[in-house]
Symmetry: C2
Subunit: 210 residues, 2 copies
């Protein structure tokens, strides 16, 4: 475990490796070389070895990596040998679809609270049993239920104000689906998911290559 600065890209690739390794495990693959793993992930083999080298020595020379071990080691690195509690803010189309989406729970992310501002929605029960709280109760509920990460799925106009409330409630990690750049203090880590930015990139490639 070194003390160098680790590229953000490395962290994202570790997640990708993890997904692929979990698939490989299901296919009963015991051991895999960096070269074969690289092909599955669409990266350079040396990249994988470098990425892992930031955190330790996990392979066996002349052999490769034991799949079960590498999975557990990457989980350890990323902090995934545990459950993370999420709070959804904004239970519209997108928010409620995400809460019902099975992928979160599969990877240890549990929606433990949901908030909205619409009086029609507050008090309603979601398919997973969660009852929607009013945003005014955010700080209280976040602390009570030990929420670690806030997910913003509100309209753009509400996103900054919601982010402020999340931070006030002591939250340091935000996944933001609203199409605005939200401002947060350094202690808080934000990841943005903006569908239309990804589409813009596709549009650019379609426009120029053909």
């Amino acid at each position: 475990m070194k003390f160098t600065k680790i590229p953000l890209a490395t962290i994202n690739r570790l997640s990708v490796y993890l997904r692929v390794l979990e698939d490989l495990l299901e296919d009963n693959t015991d051991v895999i070389s960096s070269e074969r793993l690289a092909r599955h992930c669409g990266v350079n083999p040396a990249q994988i070895r470098k990425d892992l080298a930031y955190f330790g020595e996990f392979g066996v020379r002349g052999v490769g990596y034991r799949v079960v071990d590498l999975i557990s080691q990457i989980k350890e690195i990323l902090g995934l040998n545990r459950t993370w509690n999420l709070a959804m803010v904004g239970v519209g189309n997108l928010g409620s679809a995400l809460i019902r989406h099975g992928n979160f729970i599969k990877h240890g992310y549990v929606f433990a609270a949901a908030f909205d501002i619409d009086p029609e929605k507050v008090g309603k029960k979601l398919p997973n049993g969660l009852i929607i709280n009013h945003v005014d109760e955010l700080e209280e509920v976040v602390k009570e239920r030990n929420i670690h990460i806030g997910v913003i799925a509100t309209p753009a106009s509400a996103a900054q104000s919601v982010a402020n409330q999340l931070i006030l409630a002591g939250i340091n990690g935000i996944l933001n689906f609203a199409p605005v750049q939200i401002q947060v203090p350094d202690c808080c880590h934000v990841e943005n998911i903006d569908f239309t930015i990804k589409l813009d990139s596709i549009a650019y490639h379609l426009s120029t290559n053909f």
Copy 2:
């Protein structure tokens, strides 16, 4: 318009600039300097000038950039002075939420077809008036309705097969929400959106910083 290789990061930033510029226009800002625009976008002013310099000279020295002009020029660069037709494949929770999501249409992306494999869903009408087709009709409908970009919101297990069908139908741009790395020929541009990878990154930061 140079012939250098343009960083992918530049393209993504142009989208961000565009979003901010559109907000500025609504606030009746006529002209903006790279320095002020940079603050809004959270980047370095020289970065903005460099990004734009790949494509031409759009500013006025001593003054800055005219907001309306820059918007139209970035749209021109990205290929957004037109409408793009999308096909949704997989009309589950996520797929149907995305179709109802207003942000796509706002930026010129129109869902013009929707496909599913579930006989219960095929033939049903979506809130936007679209009737769900069976995936078997994909190639036919894609050509008929002049679809440009495929959006995959199926389970991971179906994603690769759907991608193959999209490519067979002549599609060269795919937005993939399924949590797998799909393999496509070079002519096709894929953008992945994997929620849990973003959450993994947040989990890592929460685990290490505290």
